[in-house]
Structure formats: structure tokens, C-alpha cells
Symmetry: D2
Subunit: 345 residues, 4 copies
């Protein structure tokens, strides 16, 4: 039984961590923090937790958190995380950080897309927590940078193509769509129900901050630098990301061959489901679960390969993957606490 | 480990039973049936189950089902259930029937609201499976009639008021609202996305079939015949029922007194959550869980009491309550397999 | 051609006024104001208006507005409206005020439910702008208080019952459900997409500010003071209110008789549609239009009458009714600019 | 005043034609047909029309329709349209056909993607009804093939790029997303509310029937054969299509230059709105209107151009464009009856 803290528990990632950790047989939620809600029960912010999670929100006080918990999830905004993560490590704690602060290895890239970095010395040590690609490095890590939601879906969609060198990487296009929980729980007009419902639009076109993160991982698996066009869109649903990926296919392989390659890459991966031919990923079929559903085909008329990946952005795209990383770091069975089936409908 | 069958697995109640039973530590799903999909994997009908539920649909063949399973959930349409339930009992199986066929004790009432009953001799034996009211009778039962979704929410909302005799029962009004999964998975124009989305309407006004079922249970707890006005409405959401109940309050009690009475009635009930004062039930806060959230107040200007109850119609209103009944019938801990927190957002 | 101003154009009522007035053949939108957006095009706040509404937002400056416009719609928050309406009247303008500030005739009632009133002397003069009840007083009025959305639906639903004295008024219960645009465009966590979508809950139970407004109008038509229980709920849709109204029926009349009474009351009313028997109002069928759809029945088992009314809260519940009032005040045909059919689906 | 018929009025395109034609000052709806609903009021199928459209559905009887109407909209399924269109033409009527039957000029292409064509002799005569590209041919036409919803959005998005030769056409990728009304009003499980709501998925990947239609139009504007990869997705909204288009940009132009080119192409087009820089098209901002909103940018890191277009699939993508074509064919002002602003929110 390990005692964990959720630092920054008042957002959607925080409540999802609470839901998943509550169901984890080897974990006790020992501390939750929320600067704006010190002294309030977390269940007062999220009545869904009523009767089950009785923790009261602490301030983000490093000593207090370290006194209560052995393992720390930081679910803070970018740039707020880096203000406390070094202290947690210094106190001897292991951390899964769900912000973007430790995902990019190059400080110059971070500073180009975000702002100044206050603990760049940790970037080399931090391990990018996508188990299906970096599993061996995660187990011994002190600091795991939990991947972004879009990057998780894109990396899993494209990894076999890039590892095997089956596409012209200069033609990569990713058209991605995310549910609104990805925008967080901050009170903004753009996230109001009436602004999002019955709407659909692109945003961050040719400039979304997940672009360098995606490129870093794809570069690792391809063994060469990658540049891609990435366009996110806002979906009028609570949860789910679907990324549709396109590239010019350069191999003389059939769809069946390609499916076999994907099967080989993922048959040991419990959380990656290559769907039967013709059954395309639907975010509704992964809701609430840690699965990433995949399918693909070749367009014989244009020579393009099309791969689609669906995840729940709050689970495999955030809290679930964080728990998966914790399991690896603690030597628990990787799927412990994460085996629930998706909620459909 | 008990082997269970889901007879009629192709509807939303069927897939929800599969989801919940898959997570139950003492259960193996040994048989699933679907007349229209014999020979197909259940996961082909519901890709959310892909990789986890590998059962192939059998026909609704009593001998076959009885050979494979020890315990049977019938999730068939009304009037189809009664065609097979007697045979399952005859074969020595215990059954939780999720249809309406065995919920009403009086055959005349059944035949007034539905059609002719083909096994009326079982009505006296069948136990109405609302554990918070009929727990003791459920444990030894061979046949449990799993309650309807609306009746579950209304009975839990009103039980303390009626047991304690605090209202004028001639003034009872229940205004209820259900998510669309309550209409089932049949292909009907009225259930199409574009017909339901951004819409809201009453239906079955002054004539919904759950009325006599509600009245039977309320009559039991009140110790007297009850007649009420019940108006269901269709909500543009997948899951959830919220029932708002009104009656003239006849007791000289404060809201605090009344809350204390509700607390007493339900403090031992894990699945009934009386929310803090001012926090009204929201179907979003019970999604995917077996909880029933309650709150209430008095209108000092009119002397009415107002009680609202929220459940997930597919869980506490159907599959979750069925599993709760199975737990009672088998002597398992009542909440086994049902302790997951709601999925919010 | 009259020149109109929309004072407070940055909310959902403001943009709906712009949409409707743009389509009105006798109106020119001569001025729009928004304190927070002075100098910006209204179409920058609402790209739906792009290319059609080119007005730039002015400050809420009485002299400026009066110089530009002859007729003024104030779509400001409660208590902000009363700070400017007297000055517009003093400058000789006629005003339709969409706030609650001039709806209640008794200053004591206003101050009990809202706060101190700064121009109580206008309450006696202001005309409550529900044309189907107060048409004759609206035409000559200088100041029309545009009704609230809930009160409009409830008054139209119940007027015939109360005028004819067919119910026991002590038993009135109104269970109402509103789309989320009713909560306005302010950035609040409770109005975020993920908080509202797939949710449903009551709010303001036994204490909503529309209660005294409903009671005032019902009292007028009944000829006696009315107290009712009114429970609003939040619907996960953009637009629409459905009010389901209950009362003990005291007349010896059939449903057909009652329908005839409603038909008589409303056959001259273009915007009130009594639907055919069995076709219940659905907010989807009035979307974007100024219609109020009605239907009703008697519950023979309990003696209750049930009446349901559906409106678009932004049209008949706000901007459309405001235009209808303007038409009456200017002697235009009452339905001018308001004859568009609902947008379905 | 022309008398029009809506042949096939029971679908979503039919009711939208009724809504728009009802508002058209020069049109009388003289006939509506629906094979399954002969003798019923159209308003019984669509209560949104109650009180305004009193027409009763006729059978699809050519003589009857021709006796009642001068101008005919056929809103029938593919292959059903071609069974009646020739007879309407033979009777001297002019027709806007909203099916796919006359959109493809090459019968072989039609038969490859659809089935056998029974009136191929009309393909040469039929004019593809996209006014912003084929306006001059539409005015004198007897038979106008109203474009598909996806093709309309894609053609308007890409026309300037292809006319000016600014991209490598072998790299064209269109990732499109459609609201559910595009699937029609047929009772299918896949279109049920609970299947679509909170979901999102691709469909028809590398094989959707709109592909050859898009390629035909783009080929016309490019002056060369075009092959593109086109992936549609199903959006959980009632109305709206957003198409995101990608291609390798081959010109030495800035974003400002490119915007100027688009402005030149569309400044005379009332229904095409090039939005301000940074304001991306959102289907919510065209709902209920005949507008096509566009925006674009260049991705400097990859050299791709990205163009997004949003339309209401039932208006500019079907019924609205059909009315626009009728206006052109009759010499009415092109925007007559189509000038309503979008309904937001």
C-alpha cells in the first residue's frame, strides 16, 4: 500500500486521478492539494466523489505533502509544476508530472513553445512516460513526464510505420480532434457549454504546443528528425481524442501486411487494441478506459496510408497513463487498477 | 466463481451487464445470447468490449444456456422474458429478470398495462429486487424481478416520507427525466440522434407503464394504496434519470428534521447518498455508478416537500442493481464489483 | 424604418436581438453597446454575424445612444438596467427592457427577491410585455418590461385554466427545464461545457427569482393571489424551455372540453400553437422561433391536469418577445420579422 | 409567385426545403410528397411546421405533381431520383435534384461508385449546381444536380488554390467532419442518439462516394485530373460540416498574399465569408444559414497550406443551395429567401 498525493486536484485531471487511484488496490490517497480550495473537501468540488473520497484539500506545501505521501502526482498547470517538482525530488519522492514541463528534452525547444524553464537541469533525467515506447526507462525513473493527450494518440498511431520506415515522413499530416475536458476546468467563455455544444472548429492551427512533443517522440522511433503538420480541433464531447494520421506510403505492402506489422508491434500491449478490419476507432468505445484503439488502411488511389487512433484524453491521455507509469515505477502489474472496460453508451 | 449467462445481450442493458460482470471478481461470463446475432462475437456488436469479452452469441436456447451457466440474467424485452424464465427456473437456475414481466404482483394490473401474462403463477414467488426496501426477501429468492429505472429512483426518493407518514399522498406528483438509453437500442426514428439531440419533451403523460410499478412499491412502504401522477420526459443524454417529486408536507418538521429522517433511513445504505444541503443531485455525478443521489427541501411558501433523486438508469436502474441482487442471492458482499466511482466529467 | 439600439449586446440575448432585428424589414440597427468591448465590432464577439452586422460597440453612454437611436432595447443584467433606463425615458425614447428590473409592480417584492430598487417610481408605469395577456397596455407604453423566459412559458401554459377557474390553485406545481443559454455568457465554472453536458439537475429549488414574477401574472389572470411551487432544472441544450405544470382539476370537463377552451383562448394568437392531441411540445420544434407550443391532458387516476409549454428561451423567452413588443408599440404588424419557422433538426 | 413541389419531403432535406421555401417571398409550396406518408400532413411528420405548412403528403405521382407545381425539388434517395426526374423534365418542368444521381458527368464513374444508371442520357445535360463555380450554366438549365454536402465545402475551400495553381495536387488530403443529419432520417442503429452522442469516428475511409464528385469539381477548376484522399468523420451535432484541407504549398507567397487571393476570388460571393485572420470557421457560426465560412494559413515548418471550410450541411450543403439554384434558374435575386443570419448559440 503506497501513500500518494495528488498535487493540483481541482481540475479534471485531478478528479480523474482520484477516481482511478480510489479503485487501485495498492494505493491510498493520502493527500490532495488545491491552492484555491484549501480546507474544502475534494468531494465538495466534485460531488461525484461524495462518500468515497473524504480528503480535504491542502495547500501546495512541499513539506506537508512530503510528510503525508510517498509518491506524488503533480497535476498542475504548465510552469506551476516546475516550481514544486524539484523540491519533491529533493525530498526523495518519486514524481509523475502531468504538466508539459519535463516532456521536452531540449530546453531551447521548451522555451520556444512555452516560456523560460526554471529547472532545466532535470530535463535530461526526466523520462517521457509513454510505456509502449519507453517502458524500460520508466521503471527506475525518479521523475516521469506524463505525455500529452494528443502526443499519446499520435505516437501510438504512427510508431510501427516509423520504426519500420514505411512512409515518406515529409508528408505526415495529423488531423486531431479532442473533447472539451482537454481545455481544463478554468472559467473561460470559449469553454462555455453554449460556445462548444453543436459547434466544431480547428484551433492552434500550425502552432499548437503539442507539435514539438509529438515530433520528439516520432523522431525517437524513426531515428531521424521529424516535422509534421498537426491540426487540433475542439469536439463537443466531454472526453476523447481521435487522431487521423496521413502519410505517403512508400512500401510495397498490402493492407493485410501492414495489419500484421501493427499486430506484431502491439500484441503484447494490453492497452493498445488493433480493431478488426473495417471497425474504425470511436472515442465512445474507449470512454473511461486506458485503451488506445487503432485502425488503418491504404488508399489505393493516392498511395496514402491512413491511421486513426482513439483514446480517452483523461485516461490514456492523462490520469490513466500516469497510474500506468506509477505501476511500472513501483513494480506493480502494469494494468493494476486500470482494467475497467469502457463505459458505453 | 459462478458462471453467469446474459440472455439478451445485444441491448444497452446487456452490454452494461457485460461491463459490470467482467469487473466482478467472483463471476465468469459463461454465456451470452442474442437471437439476431447468433455466431457473432458480442464484441462485434459492442467494440467497447474488444479484447476483453470474447464470448460468441448463442441462440436463446434454454438447454444450452443451462448447460453453460449457473446463474442467469434475462435482459429481454417485456413478454419475451416470460417465454423463457419459467424454463430456467424449472432447470434449477436462479434468475434475475430485468424485464417488467415479474415486477407486478397482480396479474390483472400487469394485463391492464401490458398484455396477457403467460406465467402468472410465478408472480407470487418473484421478489421485487430493490434491496434498499426488500433486501431480506431477495437473498433466498429463485426469481428476482429487477426494478424499472424510474421506479427505482422514485421509490428511493419517497420511501422515508411514506414510511414516516409525512405527506398527503393524494398530492404526489413525480416529474421524471430519463436519458435516451432508456429507450433501448432498437432502430426507431424517435430515438435517432437528430430527433433527440437539442430536444426535450414529455412522453407517456398520464399513461406510462412504470406508474403501477411505482404505486406498488410506494403502497408497500406507505402501508396503503397510492395513486400518483407520473410524467416522464426524454433527456438528450446517454445515461441518467432524475426524478423530481412533490407532495404536500403534513408534518411539523424543519428541513433539518427531515434531513435527519432521511439520514437515518439511508445511513446504512452504501448506494444511497444524501447530498449536503444545497447540493442537488445531478445525473452527471452518478454516471457509470450504482449510486442514487438524493436531496430535498421544503417550500415554506406553499408547504410542499420537494425531493430529487438521480441514478444512472443503466446501473442502479438496471444492470448494477441486477448485480447487487445477484450478490445478495449468492451471499457475496453486496457492493462486490460495484464500488467504482462515477465517471465525471 | 426605425433606428434601434441594443444596449448590452455582448450576451446571448444581445446577439439574438441582432439576428432578429437584422431580419426585420422596418428596423435599422443603429447602435450596439458593450462596456467591455468598446471599439470592437460586434461581429468580432459573434462571428455568426460576420459580413452582416458591421456595427462597432459603443460604451453605454446615454447621450450617444440617444443621438443614434430612436428605440432602445436594454439587454443588461438586473440592476444595471435600472441605472440607465430612466435616462433613456427622460430623453424621450421608448424602451423595451429585457432585465427583471421593471417586471414586478411592487417594489417590496422586487427588493425581497433582488436588491434595492433605484427607480421605483417607474414600476407603476412599466407595462409587463406579454402580448397574449397585456396586449392593449403594451401599444401605448413608454417602458415595457420584457418577461422572463420561465414566466412566459408558465403564464401561457396556465392562463386558460386560471381565467376559467378550473383548478385548485393551492395545488399548482411547475417543474421547468431550461437550456443553458439562459445562464448567460459569463465565464463561470458551472456553465462550462463539461459541467453541463451529459448532466441534468435542479437548481434554485423553492427560491428562484422568477417565482414572484410568475405569481404576479397568474394572479392577474386568476383575479386572486397565487402561490406556487416552481422548480427550474438545467438542460444540456443551447436553447429551449419546457415547463410541465400540474394542478388538481376541479371542473367536470373532458379533455376534449378542455382542449376547446384552450383553442378558444389562443386561436387568435399566432405565436401560441396548441398541438394536436398526443403530440407533446418539444423544445426542438420551436428552436429559433417565437412560437410557444402547448399541450395538455387530464390524469383520470388522480384528477390532475398536466399542461406542458415549450418555447425558445432566447426568442419567445427574450429577444423575440421584445421585438413583438416593439411591433406593438410602433403599430407594426405584430409578427413582422418574426415569422421564421423553427430550425429542425 | 412560383408553385414548387418537394418530392421526397419526409427526410431532413425535405423539412429544410419546407422551412426555407416557406420564407421565400416568390414561392408557394404547392405539393409535397412522401410515399410512406400519403394522406398525412407534413406537419404531422415534423411538428416544427405546425400551423404554417398545411400541405398533405401526396404519393410520388408524376402527373399529380406536375399538375400542382411548376418547379420541382427532388429530395429522394440516390437511384430513386433517377426513376422520376426524366418524367418531370419530359413534362416540361425544371428540376433541382438533391440526390447524387446527376452529379457525375461520366456514367462509368457513377456506376463504379453507385450502381447502374437508368437515365445516363441526362448526365451531359445536367448542370452541377455550385453557383460559386458554375453560375452561368445554372441559370438556363432544365436539370440542376445539387451538390453533395462534403463536395460543396471542399470545392469552396480549395478552388482558389487550384485555379491559381498554388499547390502540389498529388498531396491533397481532406479530413472532413459532418453532423448527423447528413445520415438522413432512416431508422438505423448507427444513427441512434446513444450511438452517436459523446462519440466521434471516421467512416467510409478511402472509399466514400463523395470522392469522385469532389475530384470532378476540383479537376474542373484545376484544369487537370485530381486524385485526393478524403476521410469523412461523424460529428455528434445535428448540423454542420467542417472540412480541413491540406496540401503542399508550391508558391512563394505569404499568408497575406494568399488571403488576398482568396479575397479576390470570393469578394463578390455573398455566401462565402473569408473570416479575419486567426478566426477559424466553426460550424456553430453558420447554423441555419447558407454561408460557407473559410479561413487558411501556411505551416512554415512543413510548407503545407491548411484551409478550413464550414457550412450547414442541410443549407449550403443541400436545401439552401437548392433554393439558391432555383433563384438563379428563375432570375430572382440570388440570395432571395436566404439572407437569414445563423442561429447562434
Amino acid at each position: 500500500m503506497i501513500k500518494v498525493a495528488i498535487v493540483g486536484a481541482s481540475g479534471y485531471t485531478g478528479v480523474e486521478l482520484a477516481r482511478l487511484l480510489h479503485a487501485h488496490p495498492e494505493v491510498e490517497i493520502a493527500c490532495v492539494t488545491s491552492r484555491q480550495n484549501v480546507g474544502e473537501e475534494l468531494a465538495a468540488l466534485f460531488p461525484s466523489l461524495h462518500g468515497a473520497i473524504t480528503q480535504v484539500c491542502d495547500d501546495v506545501d512541499v513539506d506537508l505533502v512530503c510528510a503525508k505521501a510517498d509518491f506524488i502526482f503533480t497535476a498542475l498547470p504548465h510552469r506551476t509544476a516546475m516550481a514544486v517538482v524539484p523540491a519533491f525530488l529533493h525530498a526523495g519522492k518519486r514524481v509523475v508530472d502531468l504538466s508539459a514541463d519535463y516532456r521536452l528534452r531540449e530546453v531551447s525547444v521548451y522555451e520556444q513553445w512555452y516560456q523560460a524553464h526554471t529547472s532545466p537541469e532535470l530535463l535530461a533525467e526526466a523520462v517521457y512516460g509513454l510505456p509502449e515506447i519507453y517502458r524500460d526507462k520508466i521503471a527506475p525513473a525518479r521523475l516521469v513526464a506524463n505525455p500529452g493527450c494528443y502526443p499519446t494518440s499520435v505516437a501510438l498511431a504512427l510508431k510501427p510505420l516509423l520504426v519500420e520506415g514505411l512512409v515518406d515522413v515529409s508528408t505526415l499530416v495529423v488531423d486531431a480532434k479532442s473533447g472539451t475536458s482537454g481545455a481544463g476546468r478554468a472559467a473561460k467563455v470559449a469553454s462555455l457549454f453554449c460556445e462548444v455544444n453543436e459547434g466544431f472548429k480547428p484551433y492552434g492551427v500550425a502552432g499548437h504546443r503539442h507539435t514539438p512533443e509529438i515530433e520528439q517522440t516520432l523522431g525517437d522511433v524513426a531515428g531521424a528528425a521529424i516535422r509534421l503538420t498537426f491540426t487540433p480541433h475542439l469536439l463537443p464531447v466531454n472526453r476523447g481524442i481521435l487522431s487521423t494520421c496521413y502519410a505517403q506510403f512508400t512500401a510495397a505492402l498490402s493492407v493485410a501486411d501492414l495489419r500484421a506489422i501493427y499486430r506484431n508491434h502491439y500484441e503484447q500491449e494490453f492497452f493498445v487494441r488493433l480493431l478488426p478490419e473495417g471497425v474504425w476507432p470511436n472515442i465512445a468505445n474507449v470512454r473511461g478506459s486506458n485503451f488506445c484503439d487503432l485502425n488503418l488502411t491504404l488508399d489505393p488511389r493516392t498511395g496514402k496510408v491512413i491511421v486513426a487512433a482513439a483514446i480517452d484524453n483523461l485516461v490514456k491521455g492523462a490520469a490513466g497513463q500516469a497510474v500506468q507509469n506509477m505501476n511500472l515505477m513501483h513494480g506493480f502489474e502494469e494494468r493494476l487498477g486500470l482494467a475497467q472496460l469502457p463505459l458505453f453508451p
